[in-house]
């Protein structure tokens, strides 16, 4: 092990880097307190190329260190790549780091057997579809990678996101960055955007860009891709408003307006309340509102 001046290490050469992001607050605190305990692995050439330890050197530099402990090794690029991956397997790799592993192994012409072996170690199946997704993610712009990590996206959602054009991805990530979403909501939104793009050839972001609420966003997208259903929902809501139903009475219609029957629910604490509810129902029946509701499902 040697102590090497940081300026003699080429920090821009990241061909063996599989870490993302390089900024790590916990590591920064640790190095501030204890220094760099685990030496870097670097290649024996000038300037030195880092094989493993990208996060450590990033933190050390930020803390103003001028030297850093290193193991200097002489090895070919393939061995170096393997060393980089295996030195990171002791921790849980995030999805971007896994993507880097896959992409770099392909870039460096590893055999299918070697790639398959590594993919199995990082819990990825050696399938064309997965490889394609992972390589696309590894080569995506940083804002996309940050978004994927921040939202803890599943592979399925990542694939959907990367299916959009670059300028659309930018708009989508900007829009969704402002909104709290669960995984299933994200899936739903991405699917609706895909349908909108397929149907109309593009996504009209002007109508949805300013939305800060997931429910408004969903409603707006739904209106765009399901205008008939949304129209029926609006009509129903308008009729129900005109009915001025008390909380003890509810009228339910099939959510897809398929079934011809409706459900009328009365919540009552005694005969008098039942009587009151029936009077109210009679009044909306006489006013023709019930017939209007049936008109939404019967043609």
């Amino acid at each position: 092990m040697q102590t090497i001046p940081i300026e003699r290490i080429n920090m821009n050469d990241r061909r063996f880097c599989i870490s993302y992001p390089l900024q790590d607050d916990a590591l920064l605190s640790s190095i501030r307190m204890e220094g760099v305990i685990q030496p870097l692995l670097i290649l024996d050439k000038q300037p030195h190329t880092i094989v493993s330890g990208f996060k450590r050197i990033e933190a050390a530099k930020e803390l103003g260190f001028t030297d850093i402990p290193c193991f200097v090794m002489d090895m070919d690029y393939k061995k170096a790549m393997q060393a980089s991956i295996h030195s990171n397997l002791g921790r849980v790799l995030n999805i971007i780091e896994k993507a880097y592993c896959v992409d770099k192994l392909f870039t460096m012409d590893f055999s299918e057997e070697e790639i398959s072996g590594v993919m199995s170690m990082i819990s990825l199946g050696f399938y064309e579809k997965i490889i394609k997704r992972m390589r696309a993610l590894a080569n995506a712009e940083n804002f996309v990678k940050d978004f994927v990590l921040q939202k803890n996206m599943t592979m399925q959602n990542v694939e959907k996101l990367l299916g959009f054009a670059d300028h659309e991805i930018k708009d989508i990530t900007e829009m969704l960055n402002r909104i709290h979403t669960t995984e299933s909501m994200m899936r739903e939104i991405l699917q609706m955007l895909s349908i909108m793009k397929l149907k109309y050839g593009n996504i009209d972001f002007s109508a949805i860009k300013g939305m800060n609420n997931i429910y408004d966003l969903k409603r707006s997208l739904k209106y765009s891709i399901n205008p008939i259903l949304s129209g029926l929902e609006e009509d129903l809501s308008e009729i129900k408003n005109r009915c001025a139903l008390p909380p003890s009475i509810d009228i339910k219609v099939d959510p897809f307006f398929e079934k011809e029957y409706i459900d009328i629910r009365i919540r009552a604490n005694g005969p008098e309340e039942v009587k009151g509810a029936l009077l109210k129902i009679n009044s909306i029946l006489d006013a023709g509102y019930i017939r209007s509701i049936f008109g939404l499902t019967t043609y």
């Binding site: 895909s194 349908i195 399901n226 029926l232 011809e260």
Partner: protein, 315 residues
């Protein structure tokens, strides 16, 4: 055409079955004969890929066994005139010229004279069968505007060939069936269907059409994502809801509008056409046709009377 391997099998299970239909919808009591399983035509919207686990085309080659099963089904039926078809798990004609699978069945129905065999297809090749055709065989084609055939049914015969084959079948003394199924909503589809129905009326003798089915596009949920991945704009252009059977269907308001439009266009061509809706709810039946078959049994009754009207006493 078609690179799928062909496999000959001798299945000893139920090859003749009731058409599975779909839950909560009215079905017509059709009997399916699983003579071939799998299809080389690979239409983009085809649900077979979801149901059949192998890419192979399986041919059930034990014809005597199949005929015995058909006989049993005919003997067991006391009320209705049975309608059989080989187009449920495959296209009836796509590989028939090469393997001559239908000929023994065609001859069997001609000799038995007790039931009808429908050969339903998108592959307009019937010349090899014409010497054997008889009135108990119904040649049917699934028909769609050429724009849809070009985009979604790429390996099938063009529309004009299907219509010519139907005409030829009529000239051989057969009744024919027309299946406007799946009807797909896309930009400008109304005009295309109007032209299609006009072409049908010009080329085919509509008095000798035994039945016409109408079925709007419907598919299991798994296919939705496939259509999206494959950018199938035509297939996802309309507005879908999940039906009671779990399948995606166009929203009811649209279904009623489109069925009504097609029904009226067809009736304008020939008022006596027998038109049925494939796998639809009874409220849709009522809105479109004015008829309300209460259940599958009632719909089978409608088929019986249609067959009796056209066949007279020979069935």
């Amino acid at each position: 055409m078609g690179l799928q391997p062909i496999e000959f099998v001798e299945t000893k299970g139920d090859i003749v079955r009731n058409c599975p239909g779909t839950k909560h919808h009215i079905c017509c009591g059709y009997k399916t004969i699983d003579l071939v399983e799998g299809c080389i035509l690979s239409c983009s919207y085809c649900i077979l890929k979801e149901y059949i686990n192998t890419p192979n085309i399986k041919i059930n080659s034990d014809i005597p066994y199949i005929l015995s099963q058909i006989s049993e089904a005919i003997d067991a039926e006391k009320t209705h005139i049975l309608r059989f078809g080989t187009g449920e798990l495959s296209d009836s004609l796509a590989i028939d010229r090469r393997y001559r699978l239908n000929q023994p069945l065609v001859e069997f129905f001609g000799e038995t004279k007790k039931a009808i065999l429908e050969l339903k297809s998108k592959w307009a090749q019937i010349d090899h069968l014409t010497p054997f055709l008889n009135p108990y065989i119904v040649i049917s084609f699934s028909l769609a505007p050429q724009r849809i055939i070009d985009k979604e049914e790429k390996r099938t015969s063009p529309l004009y060939k299907r219509l010519k084959a139907l005409r030829k079948a009529q000239e051989c003394g057969c009744f024919v069936g027309l299946h406007l199924d799946p009807v797909i909503i896309y930009d400008g589809f109304e005009k295309d269907y109007e032209y299609l129905i006009g072409d049908i009326g010009r080329i085919i003798d509509l008095k000798r059409v035994l039945w016409v089915s109408l079925g709007l596009l419907r598919f299991p949920p798994k296919l939705f994502n496939r259509f999206l991945d494959e950018n199938r704009k035509n297939l996802l252009y309309g507005e879908f809801v999940r039906g009671e059977d779990g399948k995606y269907r166009y929203v009811k308001k649209e279904r009623v509008r489109i069925y009504g439009m097609l029904y009226n266009l067809l009736k304008e061509q020939e008022k006596d056409l027998f038109i049925y809706l494939c796998m639809e709810r009874k409220d849709i039946w009522r809105s479109v046709t004015g008829m309300t078959p209460e259940d599958n049994e009632a719909l089978m009754g409608l088929f019986d009377s249609r067959i009796k009207t056209l066949y007279g006493g020979i069935l």
